[in-house]
Symmetry: C2
Subunit: 153 residues, 2 copies
DNA sequence: GTTCCTGCAAAAGATTTGCAGTGAC
DNA sequence: GTCACTGCAAATCTTTTGCAGGAAC
C-alpha cells in the first residue's frame, strides 16, 4: 500500500483534456481552461465549491454554473471521475487510467480525504471486472475510518 | 465473482438493530420499526425517496424527515452503510460485516445498481486496511459501466 | 456573422431543522 | 408525567436550467 504524495504536479492532463474537448467540437473558453489547469494540479478530488474557492483565491473567478457545466462535459468524454464520498457532496478529479490512478481514504470524522494506491487491489479489481457481464468503465474504492488526528481526540 | 441473488430475505438485522438502538437509549417508535424491517428485507441499497415509496406502497406512510433522522441514528451506531453511487443521491443499506457483505455495480446509463461479492477482493482490501494508519471502519467498492441492457442499445 | 461559452438569477431536488402534538416508558 | 418520536412546514444547500451578453472561430 502506498500513500500518495500530496504535492502538486502537472501531468499534461490539462493539455490532453483540451485537445479532447476541441476534437469533440468544444471551443476553449477562459473558464474552462482555468478549471482544467486547476484540476490538473490537484493530487486529489475537489468538490464544485472547493474548485470555485481555489479559483477565486488565485483571482480567476468562475461561476458555479460554469463549473458544473464543465464537469459534465469532461465526465461525458471520460476525462473526469466523480468521487462520492460522504455527506452528499460530489467531488471530481482527472480520470487517470495509467499513472496517477488511485483510491480514497475518508475520515468520517473530519471529512478529510486522501489518496492511496495498491497494486494487489488493482489486480483483484481487474480480475472481478473481467468476469462481469458489464462493460466496465471505471472503478472506485473508498475506505472509511478515523484519521490519525481524529482517532487521537 | 458472485452475483448476489436479488430475492428478499430477512436476516435478523432488524432485531439486532432494534436492540442496539434500545441500548443506545432510543425508544421504539412505529416509523423506526417500519424502516428497520423494510431495510432488512432489501438485497441492495435504497435512497430515502425509495424507502418512502416502498413504505407507502405497503400502507405504512412515514415522513421524509423521519427517514433521514432514522438513517442518521443508524449510521451513528454503525448499523447502516451509505452507498453514494451517482447523481448526488445517497442510498442506504444494512451494514453487514459478515454474510451479506457485498459491493456494487452501477450502470451509468440507466442508474440501476446491483450487488456482487468477491473473496479475493475482500482479501486485498483487508490487506490494505491493515497497513493503513487509519482506524478503518468500512470499505466500499463501486464498479461503473454499462449494464447488459444499456450496452446493447 | 454564427455558434458556443459564461455569468446571473431563478428553479429544482435532496436533506436538515424548528416546532407542536402523540406515543413509549 | 416525562422525554423521546413523528409529521408538517420552512429553511438550507447543492446542482440544474433559462436567458442575455460576450467571446471564439
Amino acid at each position: 500500500m502506498q500513500r500518495v504524495a500530496s504535492t502538486s504536479r502537472r501531468t499534461g492532463w490539462a493539455e490532453e483534456a483540451a485537445l479532447a474537448l476541441t476534437s469533440a467540437g468544444y471551443r476553449r473558453g477562459g473558464a474552462r481552461r482555468a478549471i482544467l489547469e486547476l484540476l490538473d494540479e490537484q493530487s486529489c478530488a475537489l468538490s464544485a465549491v472547493e474548485i470555485q474557492q481555489a479559483l477565486t483565491s488565485r483571482n480567476r473567478e468562475v461561476s458555479r454554473a460554469s463549473i458544473y457545466r464543465v464537469m459534465e462535459e469532461l465526465e461525458e468524454i471520460g476525462l473526469l471521475a466523480r468521487v462520492e464520498v460522504g455527506r452528499g457532496v460530489v467531488r471530481y478529479e482527472p480520470s487517470r487510467h495509467g499513472p496517477g490512478h488511485h483510491h480514497h481514504l475518508v475520515c468520517d470524522h473530519c471529512g478529510r480525504i486522501s489518496p492511496f494506491t495498491d497494486e494487489g487491489l488493482e489486480r483483484a479489481i481487474r480480475r472481478v471486472s473481467d468476469a462481469l457481464p458489464l462493460q466496465v468503465s471505471e472503478h472506485e474504492v473508498v475506505i472509511h475510518g478515523s484519521c490519525e488526528t481524529c482517532a487521537a481526540s
